[in-house]
């Protein structure tokens, strides 16, 4: 929805943003350009343009090539280091993830292998619990 642009609002905008309607908020540009063609609108813009021209007299020297080069070199070094640190961090995460995956895989294998035949990681303990014999001998003392 577009607000109707009154001549008072047109004056407010010119007093705030200056005579360049292109600098005004988007929604006022088209209606502003229309009012600018009227005698009253043109007079308001002429006054604003006069101040704009005075302000434009204050120019600032462009940066020298040395400053730009200095900043670009320091930036290239800093960002390369930061990128390498980021890659190093991600590779660390990758290694950690691999190790965690390996550990999880081992645990999964251990849990999935049937233990009643005594082939599993926990087989000795389980068998010991059943008949008291382990790889170190009969812990129940039955071989004494």
């Amino acid at each position: 929805m577009t607000d109707p642009l009154t001549i008072d609002r047109f004056r407010d905008l010119a007093e705030a943003y200056g005579a360049a309607v292109a600098r005004w908020p988007d929604r006022y540009r088209a209606p502003g350009a229309r009012i600018a063609t009227t005698p009253e609108g043109a007079a308001i813009l002429a006054e604003a343009a006069d101040l704009d021209a005075r302000l434009d007299r204050w120019r600032v020297e462009a940066p020298g090539p040395d400053l730009a080069a200095r900043i670009a070199v320091s930036g290239a070094i800093a960002t390369r280091r930061a990128a390498l640190r980021l890659r190093w961090w991600w590779s660390g995460v990758g290694i950690a993830a691999t190790l965690a995956g390996a550990a999880a895989g081992t645990a999964a294998v251990a849990m999935s292998v049937p233990i009643d035949r005594g082939y599993g990681v926990g087989a000795a303990t389980d068998l010991g619990a059943i008949n008291g014999s382990t790889s170190f001998g009969d812990i129940t003392g039955s071989d004494r």
């Binding site: 007299r57 120019r59 900043i71 960002t79 390369r80 280091r81």
Partner: protein
């Protein structure tokens, strides 16, 4: 509004350590940054320090820049404005004197020495008139007129509503019109 931030792609390249993207960003932003800092501080060496500090913050931020929160250019202007304000606060007594007495940077010298002097004097008159404004009016004029920020962007940098920004601009421009017109009349009488 924030969907088409033209700097986002460049920042992503910088975040990956792309030296060519670094050079492009410096070429695009340094003149704007230095212009704002010079107009705020009236001290070229200090303005160059501010520009370098601002870019250090850019390099730190590039890899983690999140598009959408704010336009990069708006964020950068906020950084520069804050760095300049810090410097101005650190020199409360001498700052104002330096501001009032400083001759702004000269444009390229004109072939004719007299016209060059006249031009420098006009620059100085405008610079002094703007330096004499209340801080927020000065900042609003610098951001909108000289940095060419939109009203919404300048309002975001100054952390005010659009209405408040327009009020700052209008009051600032009214004061400037009075000061600059009277100084021109003084010149005409001399």
């Amino acid at each position: 509004m924030l969907d088409h931030d033209p700097d986002t792609a460049l920042l992503a390249r910088i975040g990956r350590g792309d030296a060519a993207a670094v050079r492009l960003l410096v070429a695009a932003k340094l003149p704007r940054i230095l212009g704002l800092a010079t107009r705020m501080l009236h001290d070229r060496a200090a303005a160059e320090d501010v520009a370098q500090d601002a870019f250090v913050r850019v390099w730190r931020t590039a890899a983690t820049w999140q598009p959408g929160a704010a336009r990069f250019d708006t964020w950068l202007h906020t950084v520069v404005l804050n760095l300049c304000r810090d410097r101005l606060r650190r020199r409360p007594e001498t700052g104002r004197e330096a501001t009032d007495g400083a001759v702004p940077d000269m444009p390229d010298p004109a072939p004719d020495a007299e016209s060059s002097l006249i031009e420098a004097e006009r620059d100085r008159t405008v610079a002094m008139a703007i330096a004499g404004l209340p801080e927020r009016q000065r900042d609003a004029i610098l951001l909108v007129h000289y940095q060419d920020l939109s009203g919404a962007e300048a309002a975001a940098v100054l952390d005010v509503s659009i209405e408040a920004l327009e009020s700052l601009l209008a009051r600032g421009r009214r004061t400037l019109r009075t000061r600059l017109c009277s100084s021109q009349e003084d010149d005409a009488h001399d």
